[in-house]
């Protein structure tokens, strides 16, 4: 039996794919085979349900000491795009968010501010908790956690414990990019290494803090590196079970140094859907896959629901990071529109909280 046949055999019997099989499935490029198989996996886990949440994204600052070539969001202080929310600014945003009916989650992701100390972030979380005591706080990527440890002199575990104490209920899944030091040296040399990213996740999971996971593809990584990345996530999930949802981020090259330097173009919808379906098949121990419509655009996110995704993320409010890199999607969406998109595919829209608990 050749490798592709053994991969397909495993897919129909529910076996676990190995590196060579994943490689062969990718090269085979049979998009609709992957879609059908991924959709079956999705339906075996969550049936006809498609989740979404009412959430609000908040970016505390875009001033950053990491200045990753992959990023169009960050800038240096003094730049005319620079902003940093002080607690009073944040309070206004939160009071505004408190008006949103059924708000389930505040999502906070920011750059690595060169002078703000760890207390600034802790205070931000405490303020969210004070104003919105019943809302989940999905905050900070492992990249930020590594930074907090560095600027505070505390251990990962120390930083995470304090954040939990302050009110963080789950960690964001970003900053994983490609978990290979070769790649990170080129696309984000100054931020958390691959092993640091994984170690923060492991520590968080041990402390009972759930997290998401992600991959950012379509820049200078090789196919082998994408597959290695997925396998690293699968291994850690076997160990801890702490990942809730997986997200796939196609790299948006517009306005980035990386894009300019390597003359990169955004990969096509084909690649997006293929990677989604393939990742769903590889990560057999992940319950949820998000079709993050901000990155994919709504039409492709809708289609992603038949390529293995079971979650459209949320209403978002005001997305800044990806729009800085030229995302063409709108910055927010209504619940009615999300529900319509889901129903149109013959699926059942289910509003969820931060932990995929259904809201009735």
């Amino acid at each position: 039996m050749n490798i592709l046949d053994s991969a397909k055999e495993k897919i129909s019997s529910g076996g676990r794919l190995n590196f060579d099989e994943i490689f062969a499935l990718y090269q085979d490029n049979d998009l609709l085979y992957l879609a059908e198989a991924a959709r079956r996996v999705k339906e075996s886990k969550s049936g006809k349900k498609i989740f979404y949440t009412i959430n609000r994204h908040i970016n505390l600052t875009n001033v950053c000491s990491a200045n990753c070539p992959l990023c169009a969001f960050q800038c240096r202080s003094g730049d005319n795009r620079a902003f940093t929310l002080e607690l009073a600014d944040l309070e206004k945003i939160l009071l505004d968010a408190a008006q949103i009916k059924n708000l389930s989650e505040i999502h906070i992701v920011s750059s690595l501010h060169p002078t703000k100390d760890f207390n600034y972030y802790l205070d931000a979380v405490k303020l969210v908790k004070k104003i919105l005591p019943n809302v989940g706080i999905n905050a900070f990527t492992p990249v930020e956690i590594v930074n907090f440890a560095k600027i505070s002199g505390k251990s990962f575990s120390g930083v995470l414990s304090e954040l939990i104490q302050a009110g963080v209920t789950s960690l964001a899944g970003g900053g994983a990019e490609i978990l290979s030091d070769r790649v990170r040296e080129i696309i984000c040399p100054k931020k958390a290494t691959a092993s640091e990213w994984l170690e923060v996740m492991r520590t968080a999971h041990k402390l009972g803090l759930k997290t998401n996971a992600s991959i950012m593809y379509g820049h200078i990584e090789t196919l082998e590196e994408r597959i290695e990345h997925l396998l690293k996530l699968r291994d850690l999930q076997d160990e801890t079970g702490g990942f809730v949802a997986m997200m796939l981020f196609p790299f948006h090259p517009e306005n980035t140094e990386l894009g300019r330097k390597f003359n990169l173009r955004r990969v096509g919808a084909w690649e997006d859907l293929k990677m989604l379906a393939l990742a769903r098949l590889v990560l057999d121990n992940f319950a949820h896959f998000k079709a993050f419509w901000v990155m994919l655009t709504l039409p492709i996110a809708q289609l992603a629901l038949s390529f293995g995704a079971d979650d459209l993320d949320g209403t978002i409010g005001e997305e800044k990071i990806i729009h800085a890199a030229g995302a063409k999607s709108s910055a927010g969406i209504t619940r009615q529109k999300l529900e319509k998109i889901i129903s149109e595919c013959g699926y059942q829209p289910v509003e969820r909280d931060s932990f995929y608990k259904e809201i009735f």
């Binding site: 998009l31 609709l32 879609a35 059908e36 084909w270 038949s306 149109e344 595919c345 013959g346």
Partner: protein, 364 residues
């Protein structure tokens, strides 16, 4: 694959090369099994047209947007005194094509225009003559069944005579637009002043008899029912059985922006677009080519459509006007290397063709 019941029966029919019925078509529109539909359409595509994806390096020439038909779904047509109305002179058209000809790969022109209230047939004919004379190497595809019918009406000549004269002037193929939905119920509501369903079909039939190839299309996502979409496809399939003169079929999702229907009708979803593409591939078993028209579908959807039965992605276009008036968000032109990248990412081989699908270059 993974389906049961009625769907499995349909799947068996397709795998055995049997023709799908009207009832099968309606069933498929109701089924919501999108990736199953896509995989089945992809199977048929592989069997009928293999691994090549056709595109052409072309230039759209829209001679005028002044139109006396003023169909409800159109954002391009205007009255002569309206702002933004225009009518090209022969020199305007020559200049446009001259500019597009700076691309050494330019192989064809696509000429589609409004039904100008005072232009005669000779006015339109003159554009073909002069463009053919100035640019003898460019293949000219032009005029929809609606325009040909209009020429017949304003000149008193038969459709056949019109076609003979256009062919003599240098026209090599007829465009596929204007079919909309080929039922009189829909046409009476949306476009009562232009060619009827029978007239449109008659132009295609007459052209085929004269050895002129034509394209076919369907404009969906407005007021038509799924049953009418199926009816439309079957009418095209029947005529193709008779003449074999259709080259490619194009699915046009209706773009409501800036049209009279803007308030009542929402734009179709990608879900519907891909479903309709796949079902068209399955129903039109006697058509060789199915086009994913990126201007309407957007580039990402057109790319994905290559696995939902499409084997033709249209062309570089060079300044699309008609659909951009209706809020199309795609670019107005695509560079050839962008088209090649899109096709290659889908694992297929790009082949540049002329308007009669003669292969000019295969990009290995």
């Amino acid at each position: 694959m993974f389906v049961r019941g009625e769907l499995e029966k349909i799947e068996q029919k397709v795998l055995r090369g049997k023709r799908l019925s009207r009832e099968d078509g309606k069933f498929l529109f109701a089924c919501n099994e999108l990736t199953w539909l896509g995989a089945l359409a992809d199977y048929v595509r592989k069997k009928i047209c293999g691994n090549l994806v056709y595109y052409n390096v072309n230039c759209h020439v829209n001679l005028t947007n002044i139109c006396k038909s003023r169909c409800k779904f159109c954002a391009f047509g205007r009255d002569a005194q309206d702002r933004g109305s225009y009518a090209m002179t022969l020199d305007d058209a020559i200049n446009l094509v001259e500019e597009a000809s700076r691309d050494p790969h330019l192989s064809g022109l696509h000429i589609v225009s409004g039904l100008h209230p005072t232009w005669t047939f000779e006015n339109y004919l003159a554009f073909v003559e002069v463009l053919h004379e100035k640019f003898p190497l460019l293949h000219i595809k032009g005029f929809t069944g609606v325009e040909i019918q209009h020429f017949s009406k304003i000149s008193g000549l038969s459709v056949e005579e019109i076609l003979i004269r256009l062919k003599a002037a240098g026209l090599e193929a007829i465009a596929g637009g204007g079919a909309e939905i080929l039922t009189d119920r829909v046409r009476n509501l949306l476009c009562p002043k232009k060619a009827t369903a029978d007239e449109w079909l008659n132009v295609a039939k007459t052209a085929h008899k004269l050895g002129i190839k034509t394209n076919a299309s369907m404009l969906y996502g407005h007021i038509e029912t799924f049953a009418e979409r199926v009816e439309h496809l079957i009418k095209l399939r029947d005529l193709q059985d008779e003449t074999g003169g259709f080259q490619t079929f194009i699915c046009f999702p209706f773009l409501p922006k800036n049209t009279a229907l803007e308030k009542e009708i929402k734009q179709t979803s990608m879900w519907d677009d891909l479903r309709t593409m796949a079902i068209s591939r399955l129903m039109l078993d006697n058509f060789k080519n199915i086009k994913a028209y990126w201007v309407m579908l957007t580039v990402p959807v057109a790319q994905v459509a290559l696995s939902f039965g499409a084997n033709d992605i249209d062309g570089t276009i060079h300044r699309e006007k008609i659909l951009h008036d209706a809020g199309a968000t795609s670019p107005r032109a695509l560079a050839e290397d962008e088209i090649i990248k899109i096709i290659r990412e889908a694992g297929r081989t790009p082949a540049a063709v002329d308007c009669n699908f003669n292969i000019r270059r295969i990009i290995q």
